[in-house]
């Protein structure tokens, strides 16, 4: 696969209606404990007329994944299709990935000894983890592996306005481009084009 064919999320800020359906679907599909939010809807410029818009945020599966760079136990791995995953059996819950992440994607259940941070949890783009695909243990630790079944990640699949796009970065970019050409920017925003976390975009 070439560098360009990487799977990416993109939330069309002109379409997102802040229904929170994506985050609810994610939490339900993966049976996440309360307090763990792999996906979150945020509203920017709230209350400012003409400037307000909402976005659905989760792990952006960055090309230069800073979480992977800082992990002291090297528990991250990047699949050939660009999905950034991690091994919870290796993770020590140090939260360095959270410090490196610009999006606050890594989540930490307080289930370690004396209520300390347990293994990190984050969006897997519904691609599970390093364990045997669709095994009970994989499902328990990482949630559904919909990618292995040829399904779209649950958040994007159920997005009622199809604001949340997922797929090959180029395809996603073309869809967004067509939409913008057809309707213009709903809000005066710069396309955020989150591809890499740090450095030239």
């Amino acid at each position: 696969m070439s560098e360009l064919s990487r799977l990416k999320f993109y939330c069309d800020e002109g379409r997102c209606i802040e229904c929170d359906g994506c985050s609810v679907a994610c939490a339900e599909a993966h049976e996440l404990p309360s307090g763990i939010n792999r996906r979150k809807v945020i509203t920017i410029n709230e209350g400012k007329i003409g400037m307000e818009y909402s976005l659905s945020i989760a792990c952006m599966h960055c090309t230069d994944a800073p979480c992977e760079q800082v992990c002291p136990v090297d528990c991250f791995y990047i699949r050939e299709d660009g999905i950034v995953l991690h091994d919870k059996d290796k993770c020590i819950g140090c939260a360095y990935c959270l410090y490196a992440c610009p999006f606050g994607a890594p989540q930490f259940p307080r289930d370690g000894a004396f209520g300390s941070k347990g293994a990190m949890d984050k969006c897997t783009m519904c691609a599970g983890g390093p364990l045997e695909t669709n095994s009970n243990k994989e499902r328990h630790l990482y949630g559904q592996n919909r990618i292995a079944e040829g399904k779209v990640p649950v958040c994007a699949a159920m997005c009622s306005t199809k604001a949340l796009l997922v797929g090959d970065a180029q395809d996603v970019s073309e869809i967004y481009r067509d939409r913008v050409l057809a309707r213009g920017h709903g809000v005066q925003t710069n396309p955020y084009g989150w591809n890499v976390a740090y450095g030239d975009k």
């Binding site: 002291p72 059996d89 140090c94």
Partner: protein
Amino acid sequence: MKKSILLILLALTTAAFGAADSAIWGNDMIPNILGYDKEGSLKLGYYFTLLQSTYFKPLFLGVLLGVPAVFALHYLVIGPMIFSHDRKKIYVFTVFNRIVHAIAAIAFMLIIPTGVIIMFGATFGGGTFVTACREIHAIATLLFIISVVPMFFMWLRWMFLHWDDIKWLMIVGGYLSKDKKPVPAGRFNAGQKTWYWLATLGGLVLILTGAAMYFQDFKLEILAENGISQIDFLRANAIVHNALGLGVLALFLVHIYMSVFAIKGAIHSIITGYKEEEEVEILHSSFYKELKDKNEV
């Protein structure tokens, strides 16, 4: 004092459970995402990523291998200092001194190796073992917390800069030769003073930065007032913690070498409280003179 620390820790843990008004994933997340990597942002995410991915590990490895290598060379080329154990002994460390030091010593022997294991976690395969080390790293800090305050005050009066310290540094404490020439130093020499300040004040900073990372999700008014987000605060804590940890690791290795290898039998002074008279006469000559003037030797 201890009660108030406990209360603060308790308050921090309860804050950590209130996910609804999280300092990291709550409303504060939005300006942080928008501000990242832009003009005017602190760029701490970028700096933390750069330091942690590229610099910290090699630096720790350098200290971990380099310091013992230099000492091995010193031991082979110059050799240890051997002082007579037949002369009188001078009482230098009280029972209180020794108990406080022992608690701190146990804490350091737990904290430092576990810290190194966390830093090189990938080499140890991560998982249960490294997680356990991370927990020990945190729990052993309680031992350090109870010893660092008395240690700071019990030795403070001898730890201020003195002319002897400059002279001591110029001749690297006399460790570069085997001649038994009196070395300019009071009760504590410049090396011990450096270690004292790094271990107490540096240690206090390490405790605070470590606690911030341990409790993670809490709110400090002072940060909000200065427009610093919790996540940037944590990044700064991690950078400071690792940088100071590097210094403590280096001087800890020096401390072990000096007490166990470089000066034969020196370690007994912190166990029994007595130093060999000749050791004091040579290595702490100003202190020895003082004792002589007072007719205490």
